[in-house]
């Protein structure tokens, strides 16, 4: 009697452990695209939400964030040509606290400069995931909204918001630097109001975004989440 009881308990314990292990395994990223010997180099932990602070702390943090927007110097399409005049004395983005940085690790604003081909999208996803939070995305030009003039092309995506979350769109083909500054001011306003939760949205809908990305990027030879 005693023995059978003990057996039962032990079985339950093993089962629970097994279930926990399975759950932990499910929560891990498969990293199927990587070669077996490379898997150890990359993290397979899923990204997790970063909750905002409470009350005045978050307001202060958002104010500070909005005053210092560092953009990633990655011109993904023809729209990047509009970023150059933005730096010069005529438009002078530095007076708004905006400046370009050379690496994703140092920047918090990603400007999708117009059309994105599938090959570029792969790099966009990589760069976006490597950026540190809080991070914001500006969609520059009509191509990011609905594909623009490349809407029926075999190689350019139509909507960037199916692959990464977008905070502000700036319509036009091309939008002038004034419109770009207008977009930045809108972005600052939204950050101060605490509406730019794109990073958490990406994490909440992580599987949906990944499925969309993998649907078109066929040679997926990178980790599922790029730290």
């Amino acid at each position: 009697m005693k023995e059978s009881n003990m057996d039962g308990l032990q079985t339950t314990a093993t089962e629970t452990e097994q279930q926990l292990e399975d759950m932990a395994k499910e929560m891990r990223l498969a990293n199927d695209g990587l070669m077996e010997q490379d898997k150890g180099y990359f993290c397979d932990v899923r990204p997790h939400r970063v909750e905002p602070y409470k009350g005045i702390m978050e307001s202060f943090a958002n104010w500070a964030r909005s005053q210092s927007l560092w953009i990633l110097g990655f011109g993904t399409g023809c729209g990047a040509i509009e970023l150059r005049p933005l730096m010069t004395s005529r438009f002078d983005m530095y007076r708004y606290g905006i400046q370009a940085r050379p690496t994703p690790r140092q920047s918090c604003v990603f400007i999708i400069g117009g059309y994105a081909s599938v090959k570029t999208l792969k790099r966009i996803v990589r760069s976006y995931e490597q950026m540190q939070g809080p991070k914001f995305v500006l969609g520059l030009g009509s191509c990011t909204v609905n594909g623009g003039m490349y809407w029926d092309s075999y190689n350019t995506i139509n909507r960037i918001d199916q692959y990464i979350p977008v905070d502000v769109y700036i319509a036009g083909c091309m939008p002038r630097p004034e419109a770009l500054l207008g977009g930045f001011i809108k972005l600052k306003q939204m950050i101060r109001e605490g509406k730019c939760e794109g990073m958490n949205k990406y994490i909440d809908d992580f599987d949906w975004y990944k499925a969309n990305q993998k649907q078109i990027i066929h040679d997926w030879n990178m980790p599922d989440y790029n730290w």
């Binding site: 081909s117 090959k119 792969k122 609905n146 092309s153 909507r159 199916q162 078109i216």
Partner: protein, 181 residues
């Protein structure tokens, strides 16, 4: 198409030969696929066409051929010459010219990817050029429906409207001028 033009052999073509006229300084000559590489070699080594300007293909799906165009340039006479070669669409294969100009390998790699024309022996011809991991038929072939592919693959945003340009301009901007278009 091929039958309309007289195909020339290497011996027939000379410097002064009036090949198919283009604009000033630009002429075209039509050569059979088996003669083409020998002919281009002669152009490069004997006749002074030392520069391969570009190398491209056109899909004439109605005639079931690809028309390859080798554009070569002669610096001395400032003459461009387009050597046109027709090859059948089915199982399209062409002799490689990477031994004449190394950068031709890049054009051949692109043609392999975009049209599916094979160039055996060309370095890296099977590597992907722009399309990474493309599995369908090559997108520059005319039987490939670009619009259909785009609609099926890349989430189109509903609500796109296309205007007839002339009618729209007439209505909105220049009512008087539009009638003359």
């Amino acid at each position: 198409m091929a039958t309309e033009r007289q195909e020339r052999t290497i011996q027939e073509v000379k410097d002064s030969d009036p090949v198919c006229d283009g604009q000033a300084g630009l002429k075209f000559v039509h050569v059979g696929a088996d003669q083409a590489v020998a002919y281009i070699t002669r152009l490069r080594d004997v006749q002074g066409y030392t520069h391969l300007v570009f190398f491209t293909a056109i899909d004439y799906i109605e005639d079931s051929i690809f028309r390859l165009t080798y554009m070569v340039h002669n610096y001395a006479s400032r003459q461009d010459l387009g050597v046109q070669v027709d090859i059948p669409r089915q199982g399209a294969t062409m002799e490689s010219i990477h031994h004449l100009w190394p950068h031709a390998a890049t054009y051949q790699r692109e043609l392999k990817e975009m049209f599916g024309i094979d160039f055996p022996g060309s370095p890296g011809v099977d590597d992907s050029f722009i399309l990474e991991g493309w599995t369908g038929i090559p997108p520059m072939r005319r039987e490939f429906d670009t619009k259909l592919y785009s609609e099926q693959t890349y989430f189109p945003r509903p609500g796109r409207v296309t205007h007839d340009t002339a009618a729209y301009m007439k209505e909105k901007l220049y009512p008087s001028e539009a009638e003359t278009w």
